[in-house]
C-alpha cells in the first residue's frame, strides 16, 4: 500500500506550551482515519500540521515520501483539501462563489474556472438549488455540504476535516459522513477529527486516540475503542459493545450517579 503520510518523532509547541509530543504514525492510501481524544489533546494542531497550516519544529512529516515542508503550496493544494472546524463569514458570499475557491490551486490569479465541474459536483452533492443563495442563509447541514463541495472542486486525493459533524443533527451527521464514506470508497483518503466516538467507529478504518499531545493508541476501531483505553483517556466510565446490526463498536457513557447505585455495573468493570 502507498503511504500517504509518515509522521516521525513530531513535536510542536505554542510558545512554552508543548502541544504535541513525539508523534509517530503512518496513514495509508484509502484509509478513513478518525482522530479522537479529549479537548486540548492536540488533535486540531496535528491536523493543521498535516494541512501545512502550522509548521512543526522537530520531527518529520512525509507526504508520499516527501518532506511536506519542501512541497510547493500550490502542488499540495491540488492533492490535499482541508475543512476547518468553523468558517466565519464577515462578508456575504454566494454559494457558487465559494465553490469556485477550489479552482484556485489550478487557476492562480489568471486562469479560467471550469463551470462544468461545478455543475457536476453540485449535482452529486445535491446542492444545485443553493448555488445562487447566500451561504449565511443556509442551515449548518447545508453549509457543510457546500464546504465539502468546495474541497471536491479542488479534486484532492486526501481530505482533512476538523469535526465536520459537530453542529449537525443526527440526520445530517449521517448524510455528511455517508458522502465522505462514498468518496473514501472511491479511493480518497479521509482524515477527520471526531468528537463522537460512535460516528468514528461507524465510518473509520483506523483510529488515532490522542491523550495530552501524544498518540495513546492507534489501530483498527476494535483495537483502540476498548473500554479500558477510553476510560483511561477520557477519565469516565463507559460501556463498549458491538452493535449486532452494524457490527461496529458502540460506546456508551455511564453517568456517575447510576454507577454509584448499580453494583452490577461496578463489578463488570
Amino acid at each position: 500500500m502507498v503511504k500517504i503520510y509518515e509522521v516521525k518523532n513530531l513535536y510542536f509547541s505554542y510558545g512554552k506550551n508543548q502541544v504535541l509530543k513525539d508523534i509517530n504514525t503512518e496513514i495509508l492510501k484509502g484509509e478513513f482515519v478518525g482522530i479522537v481524544g479529549p479537548n486540548g489533546s492536540g488533535k486540531t494542531t496535528f491536523l493543521k500540521i498535516l494541512a501545512k497550516i502550522l509548521f512543526y519544529e522537530k520531527g518529520v512529516v512525509l507526504y508520499k515520501g516527501k518532506d511536506i515542508k519542501k512541497i510547493n503550496n500550490i502542488d499540495y493544494a491540488r492533492q490535499v483539501g482541508y475543512l476547518p472546524s468553523e468558517i466565519k463569514f464577515t462578508f456575504e458570499l454566494k454559494v457558487i462563489d465559494f465553490l469556485i475557491f477550489g479552482f484556485f490551486p489550478y487557476t492562480g490569479r489568471f486562469g479560467k474556472e471550469d463551470k462544468e465541474a461545478i455543475r457536476q459536483i453540485s449535482e452529486k452533492l445535491n446542492i444545485k438549488e443553493f448555488l445562487n443563495k447566500k451561504i449565511t442563509q443556509l442551515s449548518e447541514g447545508e453549509k457543510q455540504r457546500i464546504y465539502i463541495g468546495q474541497i471536491l472542486v479542488q479534486n484532492p486525493e486526501v481530505i482533512l476535516l476538523d469535526e465536520p459533524t459537530s453542529h449537525l443533527d443526527i440526520g445530517y451527521q449521517f448524510s455528511i459522513l455517508d458522502i465522505l464514506k462514498d468518496l473514501n470508497l472511491k479511493g480518497i483518503t479521509i482524515i477527520s477529527i471526531f468528537h463522537d466516538l460512535n460516528l468514528a467507529s461507524n465510518y473509520c478504518t483506523k483510529i488515532l486516540l490522542f491523550k495530552e499531545g501524544e498518540i495513546y493508541k492507534s489501530g483498527s476501531t476494535e483495537e483502540v475503542l476498548t473500554y479500558k483505553n477510553i476510560e483511561e483517556v477520557y477519565n469516565t466510565r463507559v460501556l463498549v459493545y458491538k452493535n449486532p446490526f452494524t457490527e461496529k463498536i458502540n460506546v456508551f457513557g455511564i453517568p456517575n450517579y447510576i454507577l454509584k447505585s448499580n453494583k452490577n455495573l461496578q463489578s463488570d468493570n
Partner: protein, 316 residues
Amino acid sequence: MKKYIFLILFFLFSIYFGILFGSKIYTIGEIFNLSEIEKTIFLKIRIPRVICAFIVGSGLSIAGCVLQSILKNPLAESYTLGISGGASLGVTIGVIIGKVYSIPLFSFFGSIFSLFIILSFSIIKKLSVTSIILAGISINFICSSLVLFLVSISRYEKIYSTLFFLFGDLSSFSDKILFYSGILIFICFIFLIISSRIYDILSIDEDKAKTLGINVNFEKNIVYFITCLISSLCVCLSGIIGFVGLIIPHIVRSLFPSIHKKVIPVSFIFGGSFLIICDTISRIIIRPVEIPVGVITGFFGGIFFLILLLKGEKIW
C-alpha cells in the same frame, strides 16, 4: 443590470455636476461659448479638480475595500487604521524640511510607519479587530497632535499650506503629483482586480486560504504596501478625508454581488463619483466661499454610520 446602469448614470451626473457647478454655475450650452479666461479656468482649475476628486475618492474606496477584506473587519480603512494620519505627519515633515517633490515619499514612509506600529501591536498583544481600530484611531490623534505641534513651531508662511491638509481639501494639489498619483493608483487598481480571487478567499478564512496554496503573509503584505501607497498619495493630494473608504465599500457590498471582481471596480467608480459630488457641494454650499471637502464627507459619513448603528446592523 439596473444597478450598473444606475452606477454609470451616477458617474456621469457627478462629472456634469462637478464641472458645471462651482463659484459660478454654467449650463451645458454656455460651455461652448466661453471667453478665454473662462476656458482657462475650466481647463486649469475645474477639470483637474474633478479628476483629483475622482482619483482620491476611488483610491480611498478601493484601499478601504481590500483592507476590510484582509483584516476581516468592516470598519477598517486607511483613516481608522491610522495610515492617513501617519501620511499626514509625513507630509508635514516634508513641507517643513522644504523639499516639495519628496513630499509623496515622506507621506508614504509616514503611512508605512504608522501601519507598522499598529500591526506590531496587534501581533504582539494579539489584539482583536475592534482593538486594532481603536489603536488606529489613537495613532491618528497622536499624528494630528504632532502635525499641529510641528505647524505651531515652524515658520509662518509654511503653516498655512500644511494646516490645510488636516481637514481634507481638494483646492491645493500639485498638478505633477496629480498626474503621477493618477497613474500609480490606476496601476494599483488593476493589480487589485487581477488578485481579486485571493481577497475573496482571504476575507473568509486564512487557514482555508493557506490550504488553497495562497501565501497568506505575502499577499497581505502586498495589500498593506498598496494601500499605504494609495493612501499616502491621496493624503498628498487632498489631506485626510475620512469615511469615504469606509462607507463606499459598505454600500457597494450591500447592493452588488460581494465578490471582489465586482466590489473593487464598483467601489472605484462609485467612490470617485461620490467624492466629486461632495467636493462640488463643498464649493457651492456657501458660495463663493469654499469649505474643505472633509467637512462634507465627515458630516455625511457620520450621519450614515449613525443610521447604520440605529438600524442595528452588525458592523463589528
